[in-house]
């Protein structure tokens, strides 16, 4: 089972590498969009989780 | 036959499949829209009917978009000419098609009775009218349309739009298309609803099936008296340019020539009528699954009959027959057709698999009590 998963991951990795090489070469802006969008989502999400942490800290201090 | 001609033929076949898919899937949703006020006597029942196609209407409507896109990409000259020639009718079709998504999304989002009643009327109009126009367009095309091309390829219109609107044969074809959609919509409602919607839907589906069979047979007799077009010389691999390179003759009953040349083709219209009648019997016997698939057969028979009769014409010109649009002279370039074929070969299987997955996830009966209490429902 784990070998299956590993091969799956390896295939996904190779495909995304090929995608990155090809699109990064032919269409740098398309590549930038993919990377940028993921980054924007992650940063926005991280900001929200940070707020959770800030809230928790604040409520702990009140106690 | 060279490879370009084969590509053209393949795309004509795909166009046929798209027309059938559009008839079945969009027709089914349109039928539900048309029947909405008849099968649902109160708001809860109407919402139930809507939610039966709720998760799928959007995906189904894509058949319509896809039909337009495929005609644009694979038959650009047909797209450019037919949509302009039928301008007023096309605009009416557009108005009703854009009313639908909004009606679905908005109808149940406000509680006022007037609000919901207005959207119900929008469902009726946007269900019946597009199917009527869909059928009527086939009727008009069969009769021949008035246009010619200038030397730059600009088309000129030779007839008024009124001749397409007030045309008895086209009206017959339009009504037939509405009847088929009512049948398919009724069967879909039967599949996923309980009493009392189930019983009402069954009655309307039966009426739709019988009406379609009668109208189809009448149309068949009528067509034998209509002017048919015949291509006398054209090279299937010709450059796709309607301005020159072909000769066309016109004769009464000409649309039956393909059937007379190959009598086995009579099986196609026969399949249509047989499916309409058998389907009606299945509805009567309360076998909606079988009836649904028989409805697909009805559409195959109907579109197949029109395609066989007209082959290789797509939209004949009544005023300048030599510039009629055929499969050979109105397609995209060989490169474009091949390119679209590859794209379709990749994406159609993907689409089919995720569409069926969606149906699988959303399977099961829709109950009025659940619909009223679910905040996500239409």
């Amino acid at each position: 089972m784990s070998i299956m998963r590993l091969t799956g991951l390896a295939v996904a990795l190779v495909v995304s590498l090929l995608f990155a090489v090809f699109v990064g070469d032919q269409g740098p802006w398309y590549f930038a969009w993919v990377v940028g969008t993921v980054m924007i989502i992650l940063i926005a999400g991280a900001g929200a989780i940070l707020l959770d942490a800030q809230d928790e800290q604040a409520s702990e201090r009140e106690i | 036959m060279d490879s370009y001609a084969i590509l053209k033929l393949l795309w004509a076949a795909i166009l046929g499949i798209l027309f059938i898919g559009l008839g079945v899937m969009v027709g089914m949703d349109m039928g539900v829209g048309t029947l909405l006020r008849f099968v649902g006597r109160n708001d809860g029942e109407r919402r139930t009917a809507l939610n039966i196609i709720g998760p799928h209407w959007d995906g189904n409507q894509v058949w319509f978009i896809l039909g337009g896109g495929a005609i644009f990409a694979a038959f650009p000259t047909l797209y450019a000419t037919s949509f302009s020639v039928f301008y007023v009718v096309m605009i009416l079709l557009l108005f009703s098609m854009i009313l639908r998504p909004v009606a679905f999304e908005y109808r149940s989002k406000a509680d006022s009775r007037h609000w919901r009643a207005s959207w119900d009327v929008a469902f009726l109009v946007s269900g019946a009218l597009p199917m009527f126009i869909y059928g009527a367009a086939f009727g008009n095309v069969l009769e021949g349309v008035g246009y010619h091309f200038g030397w730059t390829g600009q088309y000129y219109q030779d007839e008024s739009f009124l001749s397409y609107l007030v045309n008895p044969f086209a009206i017959l074809c339009g009504l037939m298309s509405v009847a088929l959609s009512v049948y398919q919509g009724g069967v879909m409602l039967m599949l996923r609803s309980e009493e009392p919607i189930h019983g009402r839907a069954r009655r309307y589906a039966m009426r739709g099936g019988i009406a379609a069979a009668i109208l189809f047979a009448t149309g068949g007799v009528w067509i034998s008296r209509l002017n048919g077009f015949r291509l006398t010389d054209a090279d299937p691999g010709m450059p796709a340019n309607p301005i020159q390179g072909q000769h066309v003759t016109v004769s009464a009953g000409g649309w039956l020539e393909n059937f007379q040349a190959h009598p086995a083709l009579w099986l196609i219209p026969l399949l249509g009528v047989a499916c309409m009648l058998f389907g009606t019997l299945m509805v009567r016997a309360d076998r909606p699954v079988l009836a649904w698939w028989t409805g697909v057969g009805s559409w195959i028979g109907t579109i197949g009959t029109v395609g066989t009769a007209m082959f290789p014409f797509l939209m004949p010109s009544a005023t300048t027959p030599d510039q009629s649009l055929t499969i050979w002279n109105s397609t995209a370039s060989a490169y474009g057709l091949a390119c679209m074929l590859v794209v379709a070969a990749i994406f159609v299987p993907i689409i089919l698999s995720y569409t069926s997955w969606c149906y699988y996830v959303m399977r099961g009966k829709v109950r009025t009590a659940d619909v009223i209490h679910d905040t996500h429902s239409y």
Partner: protein, 541 residues
């Protein structure tokens, strides 16, 4: 050869602009809000906190109200090329139709099928599966934009197609060139990210409204912060890509860039000012009331300090020889169509690159027939055609400026909001919150003006340097056009009224409405956390 009634061409243009601009009031929100929903749901799946599910569902509801009209009005666009731009569709459809059809197959189908599951599948799908569905909706709507902009880029910068005298149209010859057209790339990212800004401002503005009223505090604070971060990065990206687009126009559409900058005469680097204000006068070919910033124009447009930028007067002069050559190309083409003489074909090939300018001269040729132009008339026809190569400078100049000034405003608002939100000091900055609220419609306005800049600046062509707009339309009667325009106006007004009614209704009701209360208290958080761990572990095992 009779030309289409110019009134009908104008009405067709007006109708297309009306329907496209209207469609684009809803699309940007779809492009961005889907990814914001995905971001919220991602946080939900990772942390398991109910409040993020409430966020995804509430903003999802507003998204749904908006999405429906976006889809509905998009249908119009796909069919309008055929109903109103017949000659364009025949001339360019072989290539232009392909991206539109791929859009249907690849993107629109995906978006439309999964959007149903996104709304209806909350209780039927596992959390990761539903998250995947949300991402597919987001990807689908943006891929949809990608193919539309690939098609649009081919109008602005035709690549991957050549004219074929036997079919009298542009024949498609390279799908790779079409997809990786530099204009398509930059336009797609620019537009998609502009959509992110619209969505971020929308979410931020409504959240600001709740904070101002002291409602749904935890919910609004989280939505606000995610939107502010989303917005500030997107604004930086949109400005960067705007610069890339300007650079591409400088190289490929000099008339557009000269009109954007109101540059009637070739610039004198490095002093040449960038005009922040001016009233371009198209008839007199000059500007009134210029206010400029010196030394800015040359580095901004040409990315250098010493390159002169060609002005519109000079561009007109340069077009003269191309018009003469184009007339020869077109005359040869017509003769070839009648007799198929190889000599005519050779003459056409020699002047092929300028064929579009021959079309442009048609309007001024005797009897609208370029073959009938005598040697004596040639000069006057060319003089009359030259000014036709310019777009409407006033419209291009000002739509560009409105877009740019608005983007600077977004930058300021998002930067401040992100800062204040990260410092957790939102409630004390009521003015900022009010500004956020009132800024909700501005990104939509900016994208609309962006479209006007790009497409008005493309004039007088539908296919740049190939096919003029006045030849592209369908030969309808004015009556037809009035019928369709009146219908669109009526229907679309009803839509916007219904949309605003529902938007306001649901925004006012807030996230507490319905079965899913958004309390955001730590009680629910604690309750859900155990589930979250099992989800995360099931993902990684």
């Amino acid at each position: 050869m009779e030309l289409i009634n110019p009134g009908v061409v104008d009405l067709s243009r007006f109708q297309f602009a009306l329907t496209a601009l209207y469609h684009f009031m809803f699309v940007p929100l779809t492009l961005g809000l889907t990814f914001m929903l995905a971001a919220m749901e991602t946080v939900y799946v990772v942390t398991g906190r109910q409040i993020y599910k409430d966020m995804a569902q509430f903003w999802g509801k507003l998204f749904g109200i908006n999405f429906a009209i976006g889809v509905a009005t998009g249908i119009t666009m796909e069919f309008e090329f055929g109903t109103n731009w017949s000659m364009y569709s025949r001339f360019f459809g072989d290539m232009f139709g392909t991206p539109l059809a791929i859009e249907g197959l690849m993107a629109f189908f995906m978006e439309s099928t999964f959007v149903g599951l996104m709304f209806f599948g909350w209780d039927r799908l596992s959390r990761p599966a539903h998250l995947a569905v949300t991402y597919l909706v987001a990807l689908g709507s943006n891929l949809s934009a990608l193919w539309i902009l690939v098609a649009n880029a081919s109008m602005n910068m035709p690549e991957g197609a050549h004219f074929d005298p036997d079919t009298m149209r542009m024949q498609f010859d390279s799908v790779v060139k079409v997809i990786f057209n530099p204009d398509a790339q930059a336009k797609f990212v620019h537009t998609s990210v502009a959509g992110y800004i619209s969505a971020a401002m929308f979410v931020m503005g409504i959240s600001a409204f709740y904070i101002l009223r002291g409602q749904h505090k935890a919910f609004a604070a989280r939505s606000f912060r995610m939107a502010a971060l989303f917005g500030i990065i997107s604004t930086v990206a949109v400005i960067t890509l705007g610069d890339v687009l300007g650079r591409l126009d400088y190289e490929h559409q000099p008339t557009k860039i000269a009109a954007i900058e109101g540059l009637w005469h070739t610039s004198k680097p490095p002093f040449e000012p960038w005009l922040a204000f001016a009233l371009p006068d198209d008839a007199k070919q000059e500007n009134h009331l210029e206010i400029g910033v010196p030394f800015v124009l040359t580095p901004l447009v040409a990315h250098s300090f010493d390159t002169p930028i060609t002005g519109m007067t000079e561009l007109e002069e340069q077009a003269g020889p191309r018009i003469v050559s184009g007339i020869q190309a077109l005359s040869a083409l017509r003769r070839y169509g009648q007799g198929h003489d190889p000599a005519d074909l050779a003459q056409f090939r020699a002047h092929e690159a300028d064929m579009g300018f021959g079309f442009l001269a048609m309007r001024h040729a005797p009897g609208q027939d370029v073959t009938a132009i005598s040697a004596a008339e040639m000069d006057s026809v060319v003089r009359q055609t030259e000014p036709d190569i310019l777009p409407n400078v006033f419209v291009t100049f000002w739509s560009f400026r409105i877009m740019v000034f608005l983007s600077l405003w977004f930058f300021a608002v998002f930067a401040l909001s992100a800062y204040v939100s990260l410092k957790n000091r939102l409630e004390r900055n009521r003015l900022l919150l009010k500004l956020c609220m009132w800024s909700i419609p501005l990104p939509i306005l900016a994208t609309e003006f962006g479209w006007i800049t790009a497409e008005a600046g493309r004039q007088p062509w539908t296919v740049f340097n190939r096919l003029p707009t006045f030849l592209s339309a369908s030969s309808h009667s004015v009556g037809y056009m009035i019928f369709s325009l009146a219908g669109f106006a009526l229907l679309y007004s009803a839509f916007i009224a219904a949309e605003l009614f529902l938007m306001f209704k649901y925004a006012r009701l807030g996230p507490d409405h319905g079965a899913h209360g958004a309390h955001g208290s730590h009680l629910t958080v604690a309750h859900d956390r155990k589930d979250a761990f099992s989800i995360v572990s099931s993902l990684s095992s």
